[in-house]
Each structure stands twice: as structure tokens, then as C-alpha cells.
């Protein structure tokens, strides 16, 4: 599949000279020009490109913000206000960075659920998928560290709560906590090292993204049918088809991003974070950023500190086991009538957990969190293995081409319109 039809042939003398010494142009050509893309991809497959765009946006705006920011317990809050009020376009850089983090998570959640719906985690893409889970973990760490930097009330108490979570780890917890704090409590040494780590982790994400894309280009992309590319007619070259489609999707997504920056820049934040950090007063309702809420709900569903911490981390790590927990031979939910119902239930439960995570931890909310937490884990540990064994999948189309053009009169029976995938066929 990765045997590319048209290899790169350098034209100019300079290109030939360079290619003989470092074949990077050929690498780019085979990865982003000639690379065969399944012709039936829908718009859910553009979120990889959207994520790349946001990684770039976060790094660029972050580097620029770092030129004006002071990582100290006394100056951090003031320097953020200095960025907002005094620095030319500082408000734009900061709002782009803060809302960019949220957009990054919007896109990554679409990307993750896309992978779960279409079975993109299944063989031979396990390593590709697990690299994605690692990127997600790094993103969570980076976002948490970044959120502490303005040193407002939510920053300070978020840092306190999360470092106390780590202290629950048996034996080494207190040592880890002390090394993170650099003192006896969250304070000036903490914000200094959090800033350093917040600058470091994005580059680690860049590194893992390179591996993620590399692995993708070894196995090739999954697609809505879940069946592999069997002939050249099943595929179109990455450029121009995927390139243009990705660019278009990025532009559309930027409209949402711009709407937040220019019209609702603080909607996704918390007003409490515009109050300087005060170690003597906890905000009345302490909640993490929206993208952590499902895990926060799981943490609070358990009436034991260590138990809650273990379940919360397990909720992320269990994603990495999906390739082995899912026993179905069919990848795509389009052909899995029973599992598809459970998929939507799982999505709903995750969203409800997010809603519960923002509610106070009392009464019915706690019970609902416990029920949802149970289903969250049951989906992986019970539904995935059992449904895969008992379900009779629908007949798969003979090829990707057939799924698009629909000849052969095989009752492919996919209840899926596949509308978005139709366009590339006209140009053939």
C-alpha cells in the first residue's frame, strides 16, 4: 500500500544535487503528494489536519506570549494583565492561545470518537492508535500546566488539586509532589517549573506527532467502510484531493475559532481566574476546564481518594487497550448494527459525565456519576469483547470503489449516506 505509484523525480539540477544528499523532498512527496488516500473518506478524516493546524497555532502564539509573560508567583497575574492591556495585540495572542487550547480539544475529541466509531484502532493500526493516546495524554498535561500559569484563583487551586491527586500514589506520591512543588506547598518554585514544562511538552507532542504520521503512512488510512485499499481505483493521491479537502476543513474550523476569539473569548474560561491566586480561599465552585470534566466526574464518583485517582487515570489509559478488547473482525460501526448502538450510548455517557463534572458533588449528581462511570468502563471491558463475539455484522462492500459508486448490486446495506465522500470520483 505504501508502494507509491509515482515516485519523486527531482527536476532541477539543484533539487537533484540536494536529493542525492538528503532525500527529504522525496519524503515529503511520498507522504503528502503521491500518498494514496481512500477515495471514500468523509469530513471526519480532516480532523488530523485540523489538529496539526492547532498544534502550530498553539506553539506560535505560545512562543510570542512567553516574550511578555513572567513566571513568578508575584508577577504572573500582573504580566497576563499587562499582555491584555499594554502589549500590542496581546489580547489577540492570549485569547487565541486560550481558546486555541479548547479548539484543540474539540478537534481531538472528534478525532478520537472517529477512530472509535470506524474501528481505526484495530489491526494493523494499534501502534498508530496508541501513539495517538500518548499525544492525548501529553495534551492533557500541557493544557493543565498552561492553565496554572495566569496564577488566578482557578490556576492556583487547579494546581493544588492536581498535585494532591499525585500525592495519592502510594509510597512515592509525597516525593513526586515535593519535586513538583519545589517547596512545602504550591508557590513560586512551582509556577517556575510549570512554565518550563509547559514550554517543553508541546515539543514532545511534535515528536510523537511525527511518529503518529509515520505510522499512519505505513499502514495507510482507515476509511468509513473499514476495508483496506485493494486496487489503485480505491484510492486518490493525497494532493490535490486530501490537501484541498483538509485546507477547506481547517478554514471552516477557523470560523468557529474566530467566533470564540472575537465574540466569546471568555466563555470557555472561568471568571474566578481573573481573581489573583489566594491560598486562603478556595473558589466556591472549583471545576477544571471543560475538556477535563468527564474525568473529573469519574474522580468524584468514587468515595475514596486513591480509588478515584486510579479510576480517573484508568479512564484515559483504557483507551489504549481498545485494539485488544474489541473482538470484532469488522472495523467500521457502519456494518456493526449492535455495537453501533453501544457506541452512541458510550458517546452520550461521556457527554453526560462531562455535564456531571461541572455540577456540585452532592445527591443525585454523585449517583448519576457512579452509574455513568460504571458504563464508561463496562463499555470497554464488557461491551467491546462480548458484542464483538455475538454480533453478526452486515455484509461488507467488495471494495472501497464499490461502496462509493455502488455497482455490482451487492446489497451492501450500509445505512450510511457516504455523501461527503462522493466528490473525488468525478475527476478520476
Amino acid at each position: 500500500m505504501s508502494a507509491h505509484a509515482n515516485a519523486y523525480v527531482p527536476k532541477s539540477r539543484v533539487a537533484k544535487w540536494f536529493e542525492a544528499r538528503l532525500p527529504i523532498l522525496g519524503l515529503v512527496h511520498s507522504s503528502f503528494v503521491a500518498f494514496p488516500v481512500p477515495r471514500n473518506l468523509n469530513y471526519f478524516w480532516t480532523f488530523g489536519a485540523i489538529l496539526m493546524a492547532f498544534l502550530g497555532i498553539q506553539i506560535v502564539t505560545g512562543v510570542w506570549l512567553a516574550m511578555h509573560y513572567e513566571p513568578s508567583a508575584t508577577q504572573a497575574f500582573n504580566s497576563v494583565e499587562h499582555i491584555m492591556r499594554d502589549v500590542n495585540y496581546g489580547w489577540l495572542l492570549r485569547y487565541a492561545h486560550a481558546n486555541g487550547a479548547s479548539m484543540f480539544f474539540v478537534a481531538v475529541y472528534v478525532h478520537i470518537f472517529r477512530a472509535l466509531y470506524y474501528g481505526s484502532y484495530k489491526a494493523p493500526r494499534e501502534v498508530l492508535y496508541i501513539l495517538g493516546v500518548i499525544i492525548y495524554l501529553l495534551m492533557m498535561a500541557t493544557a493543565f500546566l498552561g492553565y496554572t500559569l495566569p496564577w488566578g484563583q482557578m490556576s492556583f487551586w487547579g494546581a493544588t488539586v492536581i498535585t494532591n491527586i499525585l500525592a495519592a500514589i502510594p509510597v512515592v506520591g509525597d516525593t513526586i509532589q515535593s519535586l513538583l512543588w519545589g517547596g512545602y506547598s504550591v508557590g513560586n518554585p512551582t509556577i517556575n517549573r510549570f512554565f518550563s514544562l509547559h514550554y517543553l511538552l508541546p515539543w514532545m507532542i511534535v515528536g510523537v506527532v511525527v511518529l503518529h504520521v509515520w505510522a499512519l503512512h505505513v499502514t495507510g488510512q482507515n476509511n468509513p467502510t473499514g476495508i483496506p485499499i485493494k486496487s489503485s481505483k480505491d484510492a486518490v493521491p493525497f494532493t490535490p484531493y486530501a490537501t484541498i479537502k483538509d485546507v477547506f476543513a481547517v478554514v471552516v474550523f477557523m470560523i468557529l475559532f474566530a467566533w470564540f476569539i472575537f465574540y466569546q473569548p471568555n466563555y470557555l474560561g472561568h471568571a474566578d481566574n481573573y481573581v489573583p491566586a489566594n491560598p486562603a480561599v478556595t473558589p466556591a465552585h472549583i471545576v477544571p476546564e471543560w475538556y477535563f470534566l468527564p474525568f473529573y466526574a469519574i474522580l468524584r464518583a468514587v468515595p475514596s481518594k486513591l480509588g478515584g485517582v486510579i479510576l480517573m487515570f484508568s479512564a484515559v489509559l483504557i483507551l489504549a487497550l481498545a485494539p485488544w478488547l474489541d473482538t470484532s473482525r469488522v472495523r467500521s460501526c457502519n456494518y456493526r448494527p449492535i455495537y453501533r448502538q453501544f457506541f452512541w450510548l458510550f458517546l452520550a455517557v461521556t457527554v453526560i459525565l462531562g455535564w456531571l463534572g461541572a455540577k456540585p458533588p452532592e445527591g443525585g449528581y454523585v449517583i448519576a456519576s457512579q452509574i455513568c462511570t460504571f458504563y464508561y468502563f463496562a463499555h470497554f471491558l464488557l461491551v467491546m469483547p462480548i458484542v464483538g463475539l455475538i454480533e453478526t455484522p452486515k455484509a461488507l462492500p467488495g471494495s472501497i470503489l464499490e461502496s462509493v459508486t455502488g455497482p455490482g448490486k451487492q446489497v451492501s446495506g450500509s445505512g450510511m449516506p457516504a455523501g461527503a465522500a462522493a466528490a473525488p470520483t468525478t475527476k478520476g
Binding site: 487551586w157 493544588t160 488539586v161 498535585t163 494532591n164 491527586i165 515535593s178 519535586l179 513538583l180 512543588w181 519545589g182 517547596g183 512545602y184 506547598s185 504550591v186 508557590g187 518554585p189 517549573r193 491560598p279 486562603a280 480561599v281 478556595t282 473558589p283 466556591a284 465552585h285 472549583i286 468524584r300 468514587v302 468515595p303 475514596s304 481518594k305 486513591l306 478515584g308 456540585p360 458533588p361 452532592e362
Partner: protein, 190 residues
């Protein structure tokens, strides 16, 4: 060299690989020590530094301005500490609670210093995840945590919610009846 191969070829002692194995293990061990020695300063530099430790010296708190039922916030080592003067009623109530009702059993006497029943000194961060519980709230004459719903009684014992243990008591000692020193236990002899 010649001697070596001669010795090996006689075949009496160890097989041919022995010297190389030894070199391999010795190099590996040397490398491990070297990596550890280089890593140590990096890890150790993240521990609390000398200035932070120096700033964590004991502090004195004057108790005279604190009235019955009042909770005063004090910071020591950047950590919030509640100094609370219990009312007579709270002392009586707390003494009356059977230990069996407590998830982290501690008698009243273990929560205050001997002869100073009215004075409670505890860390002011919830033992769950470190939020600051709000005083005079909840059902137990003590504190209620706004974050995850833990409740503590008037002597800081956990009574409800996810907090695993009672509010810990920092090291402190009475210098006089009206002054405590936080960060230093009383000398054993006294």
C-alpha cells in the same frame, strides 16, 4: 595476549567469553553509575531549595486576640493553618462523640495539646485534594469543603465525604498559655 589464548585453549578454566562478559558487565555497571550520577543533580535541583527551607523556620502566633469560636488563618511554609478557639459547648460536644462514629478514629485528647482543650491547630487544606474547607459550615460544628463535599467536625476530624483522613496537626507547642510556636514540638523534658 598469547598467554591468554594459550590458557583458554587448554580448556581447564572458564570458557572463552568470560573476560568479554566481565568487560561487558563492568562497562554496563559503570554506565549505570555514571547515568545515575549525572541524573541526580537534575532531580535533586527540583527539591525545595535552601532559601525555601530557610523560609520554613518556625513561627510564633499570639493567641490573645482570638475570641471564643473564632478561626484564624495562619501561613507556615506556604501552607494554610487554622488556629481555632473552641467554645465550651464545642469542647463538650466533641468529647462526647464515640470514636466508633469516626472514619479516622482519634480521641479528643489527640486533637489538642494537654491542658489546652480550647485550642485547635490544624492544616487548613482538605485531605482529599487540598481545597480550603469553609469554617462553621456543615453538620458537625466544623468545616465543609466546597470542592468535593467533605465535612469535618470542630476538631478537624473527617465526618463525611471523600477525605481519607482527619485534618493533620502541624508540629506546634505552647510557649506560654497565650502564645504558640508552629513548626516546633515541645522539648521532651518539659
Amino acid at each position: 595476549m598469547a598467554n591468554t589464548s594459550a590458557a583458554a585453549s587448554t580448556g581447564t578454566a572458564a570458557p572463552d567469553g568470560t573476560r568479554r562478559d566481565f568487560m561487558f558487565l563492568a562497562t554496563g555497571a559503570g554506565l549505570a553509575v555514571g547515568v545515575g550520577a549525572v541524573a541526580w543533580p537534575f532531580v535533586a535541583s527540583m527539591a525545595p531549595d535552601a532559601a525555601t527551607i530557610a523560609a520554613g523556620a518556625p513561627i510564633d502566633v499570639d493567641l490573645t486576640p482570638i475570641t471564643d469560636g473564632q478561626i484564624v488563618n495562619v501561613f507556615w511554609r506556604g501552607k494554610l493553618i487554622f488556629v481555632r478557639k473552641l467554645t465550651e459547648k464545642e469542647v463538650t460536644d466533641m468529647k462526647a462523640i464515640p470514636e466508633g462514629q469516626l472514619s479516622d478514629p482519634a480521641p479528643f485528647g489527640a486533637r489538642v495539646k494537654k491542658g489546652h482543650d480550647q485550642w485547635l491547630v490544624v492544616y487548613g487544606n482538605c485531605t482529599h485534594l487540598g481545597c480550603v474547607p469553609i469554617g462553621h459550615q456543615g453538620n458537625f460544628e466544623g468545616w465543609a469543603c466546597p470542592c468535593h463535599g467533605s465535612q469535618f467536625d470542630a476538631v478537624g476530624r473527617v465526618r463525611r465525604g471523600p477525605a481519607p483522613i482527619n485534618l493533620p496537626i502541624p508540629p506546634y507547642s505552647f510557649q506560654t498559655d497565650a502564645k504558640i510556636r508552629i513548626g516546633e514540638e515541645a522539648k521532651a523534658a518539659a
